[in-house]
């Protein structure tokens, strides 16, 4: 690979972002070399500057950012010196971009085909009718269902995994020399992720396209990249080819990334006491659409039930039934053996107090206009009637519990916190009501691995301290392994399998559980290849929706 021609050469790249009136550094002098046909993985936590570098490789800086120093040389063209018009002619034609959320990055007003044809027609690469033929061909290569017809649908009529493949096809439309993949599978379920990864890898190999593959998931990048570069807060940590990087990481930070999935909750054995919360034969529907079909499970004090499934499996709906936001059409919710009123409006304040929630997006779950004192103090005042000094003391105590220094944080606004700290505030707010049962809805999904690990450890500590019962909704099996005592696997509104964790992670499995478990990427560059071969050999489906 080293003998190939250099396509992209970035030297001493510095990028700054505007914060108030100041320009703060985001990327501090990163070097990057990419040869023709090569795939480079860019890895780092959020805020490491990896997307910013990816965009800079197109000569693009988002609003509020600027490329302040360095050289970006693409195939002999100096992108920093190029005019906007020259850059415009390169983008989409010679350098293409695949965004994280295809659902948000396709224009909802236009059909997929119109969006596919836009770049080749506008850049004068081919005529509209040629482009349409070409699109069908690429859709077929990307293994999209109904390649002739899918282009004539609107984005909302196509599933997330299919959209992500359609977006990759769109990026290929002008046969670019370079594609920037910006976390293309992060928003997808594990089973969907596999097909997208496989399709991307095939097409990149087939056309010999060079690519920068940006992700925070090491196991994913191991499948895709020839070389891996690790970034930390805008600085390069190290770079090596994939095998070397996985086998012998040099830098401590890299090693910590490798070790991050190490948290493992102590085994609890089987539950002996009576359950705190039970779902009994619950069925529920949104209007005519049935989303839960006769599900039952128990949650005990000091235990965590992980509810696992893909998006649309009904796991969040189960939480809505528990909290009374969605009265079930059949079945009942028991608390301490007594049936709760189906609608939260008919529940007593005491019943409401004992079931609290922590949400996935701490950003939107906290009122941005209130200080932490108010946010955490409100449930304490409302449910427990604390006032004045007692209330302040309680808020300070809660802040100490979530490991934030009260004096420093009590009067801050959510915007003055990091993502992990916001999620801790979400936890403190739930604790403030002194509940016995907490629903954690994908609480670590939006966080980086290291931060997520800290949250899981905190939740575990609080659980033993306050004898809490947790219902932990997640699609991430690594999290399940770390924190669960019992596992409930859901698919299409039904419970496919449930039981204590050790049983669930050891064969034999239900076919769907097997599919879920085997879809979790492993830190082995050959994992994807082996898995696909194995599935083909066994005649198993490649994914859940085929």
């Amino acid at each position: 690979m080293a003998d190939r021609e250099v396509l992209l050469n970035i030297r001493g790249l510095k990028i700054e972002g505007k914060s108030g009136d100041d320009w703060l550094p985001i990327v501090n002098g990163v070097n990057l070399t990419l040869r023709k046909g090569e795939v480079l993985g860019l890895i780092g936590e959020s805020g490491a500057g990896k997307s910013t570098i990816g965009l800079a490789a197109m000569g693009f800086a988002r609003d509020g950012c600027r490329i302040s120093d360095g050289v970006i040389d693409f195939d002999g063209i100096d992108l920093r010196a190029a005019s906007q018009e020259q850059l415009r002619r390169l983008r989409g034609k010679r350098i293409a971009y695949v965004a994280q959320s295809a659902a948000a990055s396709f224009n909802p007003a236009h059909k997929l085909m119109d969006q596919y044809c836009e770049a080749p027609v506008r850049h004068g690469v081919m005529s509209r009718s040629q482009a349409e033929k070409d699109a069908v061909e690429l859709y077929r290569k990307m293994q999209l269902p109904d390649p002739e017809g899918i282009g004539f649908r609107f984005p909302h009529q196509v599933s997330g995994g299919q959209l992500q493949r359609a977006m990759t096809a769109m990026a290929m439309s002008c046969r670019p020399d370079l594609i920037i993949f910006d976390e293309p599978t992060t928003a997808l379920d594990v089973t969907t992720q596999i097909e997208v990864l496989a399709a991307i890898r095939d097409i990149v190999e087939q056309f010999g396209t060079a690519a920068i593959y940006i992700t925070h998931d090491l196991a994913v990048v191991a499948q895709m990249a020839d070389r891996i570069k690790i970034l930390l807060r805008g600085d390069e940590v190290e770079e090596a080819d994939t095998e070397t990087m996985l086998a012998a990481p040099k830098h401590d930070y890299t090693k910590s990334l490798w070790a991050v999935r190490s948290f493992q909750r102590a085994e609890q054995g089987a539950a002996t006491d009576k359950p705190v919360v039970s779902l009994r034969n619950i069925s529920a529907a949104y209007g005519p659409v049935k989303v839960l079909d006769n599900i039952s499970f128990d949650i005990h004090a000091r235990r965590t039930v992980a509810v696992v499934g893909e998006s649309g499996s009904g796991k969040s709906t189960a939480a809505r039934v528990l909290t009374g936001l969605l009265p079930p059409s059949r079945g009942e919710v028991l608390f301490d053996g007594e049936a709760l009123p189906p609608d939260y409006r008919s529940r007593t304040r005491e019943q409401l107090r004992h079931a609290q929630m922590i949400y996935q997006m701490a950003d939107t779950a906290l009122n941005p206009k209130l200080t932490l004192r108010k946010i955490i103090g409100r449930p304490a005042a409302m449910y427990l009637g604390l006032r004045g000094r007692a209330l302040t003391e309680r808020v300070r105590e809660l802040l100490r519990l979530i490991e934030l220094e009260p004096d420093e944080y009590i009067d801050r606004l959510p915007s003055e916190l990091s993502g992990g700290q916001k999620q801790r505030i979400g936890i403190a707010r739930a604790l403030a009501a002194e509940p016995r049962f907490i629903i954690c809805d994908e609480v670590t999904s939006a966080l980086d691995q290291i931060v997520a690990e800290g949250i899981l450890r905190l939740l575990d500590k609080l659980q033993s301290e306050f004898s809490l019962a947790y219902m932990f909704i997640t699609h991430d099996l690594a999290t399940v392994r770390a924190i669960a005592d019992d596992v409930v696997v859901m698919q299409k509104g039904k419970v496919v399998e449930q039981g204590p964790k050790p049983e669930m992670f050891n064969p034999p499995h239900e076919p769907y559980t097997e599919l879920l478990l085997s879809s979790v990427p492993e830190m082995d560059p050959d994992w994807l290849t082996r898995l696909l071969e194995e599935r083909t050999r066994k005649g198993l489906p490649q994914s859940a929706d085929q």
Binding site: A104, S105, F106, A109, R122
Partner: protein
Amino acid sequence: MAHVWRMIAQRLALGLLTLFVVSIIIFGATELLPGDFAQAVLGQAATPEAVANIRRELGLDQPVYMRYFDWLFGVLQGDFGTSLAQRGRPVTDMILSRLGNTFFLAIYAAAMAVPLALTLGVLVALWRNSLFDRIANSTALSAISFPEFFVAYILIFVLAQSGYFPSMARMPAGADLGEKLYRAFLPALTLTLVVTAHMMRMTRAAIINLLASPYIEMARLKGMRQSRVIVHHALPNAIAPIANVVAINLAYLITGVVVVEVVFVYPGLGQLMVDSVSRRDIPVVQAIALIFAAAYVLLNLTADVISTLSNPRLLYRK
């Protein structure tokens, strides 16, 4: 498409209900006015017998609900009753010519204002924070901030005093279209100046609001020109709010132009309504109020239908 038709039918039915409620409110409100038609016509010196006679003659001595239902059944059969002030003249007669004038002026002003506002809105979004943006915005804001009559008098001062356009918009009988457009130019221009700002600024805001969307960034990263990004990628997604603000302004052009009609002596519905209120000519007031309410209902319905048609997520289900 079937659900669009169903939505239109539902909204029309709701619109009829709205009109019914409006008719009750108007009838009730006119009942609350001090004095009545007989008193107003005969003056302070009238004998009680004379007042009673007229009241009996016109049916004003009947209880309110009787009069209301009499009127309502008439309307359902297309008969708006007869004017009190101009004895025996059918209300429909009095309104029809005025209605034509009002629609003419409204369409005239809309035909100038809507394309102007949308074009300017797109251009200022395209060149936002430029000198052009600032000039267009401040001009539009000034135009909307002055009272209408003031704008009207300025236009008369500049364009009528110098003899380019007539300041009186009264139409001679049998005027052809060109003549009509010429005579109604100043009131139409006044209205254009008044409504353009609102629509332009809404268009600008609706488009700029979308510019941070990932799909707009995607269009840029596909190497599309800024003009195409705005017109092809942002505008189609901004149609719903724009349609709504256009509908509100069109409704205003039909219902809210009394002042401009007065300044230019233009014989429209607004003037007739004001006159009828002061003469206690309740059947005429009722009919005009219903027309105004119907204009709002229909224009809002149109805006909703356009919003639905512009949004594939509502138009084509999964």
